[in-house]
């Protein structure tokens, strides 16, 4: 086994008296697709929020490519190559695709103290190519995201993550509210991450989806990891029983 790309050790998190993470330790290896499953309140989202910089652990450590990291906001995680795609996706429905792709990372023609004039042409051109790279076909980068279907929105979110060359892509229940056909596309995409050299963490309620696209399955319950196996060493029945 190669060096893990992400290591977390002894993570704890409390929410006003509730012990949401009880000392979680996990190694995630480069280029693997990891399925993270568990019931509501099992601690999946808390773990993911800590990895993506949305929340901070109360105790424990994280290492990225062997180096200790401490994310105080999502920007820190994004700069280190961890992109997250959320269930209620991270797109602003009232804005165009081009503007959405570059939220918070706008290419600037010039700037003063971090505020500057956006390079609209680059934003449009780059978002067109980013979207084409994930095999999505959209009319124009100027279309309003609110006009897209749920699947297309997830597609744009994925295109955005790929465009910024993420090393680790966290997909938090990306198939919720999607049609069967669109779900298939997202699953196919997760399966293809490996070929692009991206590590995937796929969170889902749906075990069939996890078994379809992941190399390894980690199950959580009551704030702890209760199972961690290669896909070929386990079965849907076994996982269901444990949960």
């Amino acid at each position: 086994m190669p060096e893990p790309i992400i290591q977390v050790g002894d993570l704890h998190k409390w929410y006003s008296g509730v012990h949401a993470l009880k000392g979680v330790s996990l190694d995630i290896y480069a280029n693997e697709a990891l399925g993270l499953i568990g019931d509501n309140g099992a601690g999946k989202s808390t773990l993911i929020n800590i990895l993506s910089g949305t929340q901070r652990q109360d105790d424990g450590w994280i290492r990225l490519e062997g180096q200790p990291v401490d994310f105080s906001n999502p920007r820190d995680a994004m700069e280190r190559g961890i992109e997250t795609i959320y269930q209620y996706n991270s797109m602003v429905p009232t804005m165009t695709i081009a503007r959405n792709v570059f939220i918070g990372r706008e290419p600037l023609k010039f700037s003063l103290f971090g505020i500057g004039v956006m390079d609209h042409k680059k934003m449009r051109d780059d978002s067109v190519s980013a979207i084409a790279d994930v095999d999505l076909h959209l009319r124009s980068p100027d279309a309003i995201v609110g006009e897209l279907s749920g699947g297309q929105r997830q597609g744009v979110a994925i295109a955005r993550a790929m465009h910024f060359k993420s090393k680790v892509m966290i997909l938090d229940e990306p198939t919720n509210h999607l049609s069967v056909k669109e779900t298939k596309k997202v699953i196919g995409f997760v399966r293809g991450l490996k070929d692009q050299g991206v590590t995937g963490i796929f969170i889902s309620h749906n075990m069939h989806q996890v078994f379809e696209c992941c190399d390894r399955v980690v199950a959580m319950a009551r704030g702890e990891i209760v199972m961690d196996k290669r896909i070929e060493e386990t079965s849907i029945e076994e996982v269901s029983e444990i949960l």
């Binding site: 996706n89 804005m95 570059f102 939220i103 918070g104 505020i115 004039v117």
Partner: protein, 326 residues
Amino acid sequence: MKRFLKIYLEKPELAGLAFLVVLTLVFQVRSDGVFLNAQNLQGILGLLPEMGLVAIGVTLLMICGEFDLSVGSVFALTPMLMAILMEGGTPFILAFPAGLAAAAAVGFANGFLTIRFSIPSFITTLGMLFVVRSITVVVSGGFPPFLPADALPKWLFTVYVGPAGLFRLSVFWFLAVAILVSLLLTRTNFGNWVRATGGYLPAAQSMGIPTARVKTACFMICSVLAGFAGTIQVIRLGAPLPSLGEGLELQAVAAAVIGGTALTGGIGTIFGGIIGAALIRVIDNGLVLSQVDANWFKMAIGFLTIFAVVANSWLRKKAKSIKVET
């Protein structure tokens, strides 16, 4: 119809502009040609900047997803502080920025309280409306400070210029600010953050945008513009009154909404807010010239506001259903 809807969806402020043109024609006919004569235009354009500047700030803040009811009070406080300082011997060049700094402080307080305690800005700024008005009356001591006629730089803000003295200088200040804020919103990354913050806060946050700072900045810009507008009015009138700008906050919100800005944030343009402000001024003036009882003015603004929002939401729904077919 489809084409019309598409244009409307992309530029909702154009509907306001069309309405402005229609109203202008109606008033022109009803007033026997007085409405568009030089003297009357001079009057309209002289008053527009004062309300327009407030509307620009309120529109920006509403696009960012927040609300400011304290602009009318800030409109009075800023020039009042300036005038008191000047009465005490401070030159205009120092008293003017001091007044604007006070306005910025009020905006900062609005933003800080709203975000720190996560309460609706409607409440924060409603409270601030009373607080700031009260401060204005107290510091003035009930008697507005006396300023000699030549103390205020009328030559810089309110003198008439241009052909037939058609414009007050304030029109150009107004246009400059309008263009600047408009560019800020459409061309800069800050503008992108404002739209994202107002459009869908969780997404903006998950993309690492400093939403608290973005909102606070918008609160401060809104307050400073209101203060600037009040200062221009006082320079025009020659004396600050503690009651200036009462009711202005609601007219500014009406202007933004009439111009297509959504109360929910994320949608709207500075140009729309200006169109809204112009509509309100034109209705005010046109009703008088058409010899309609001036008390109908608020009625007209009220109906227009409701109509604009109803029309907006109806057209948006309509446009959505058409898209499903195609």
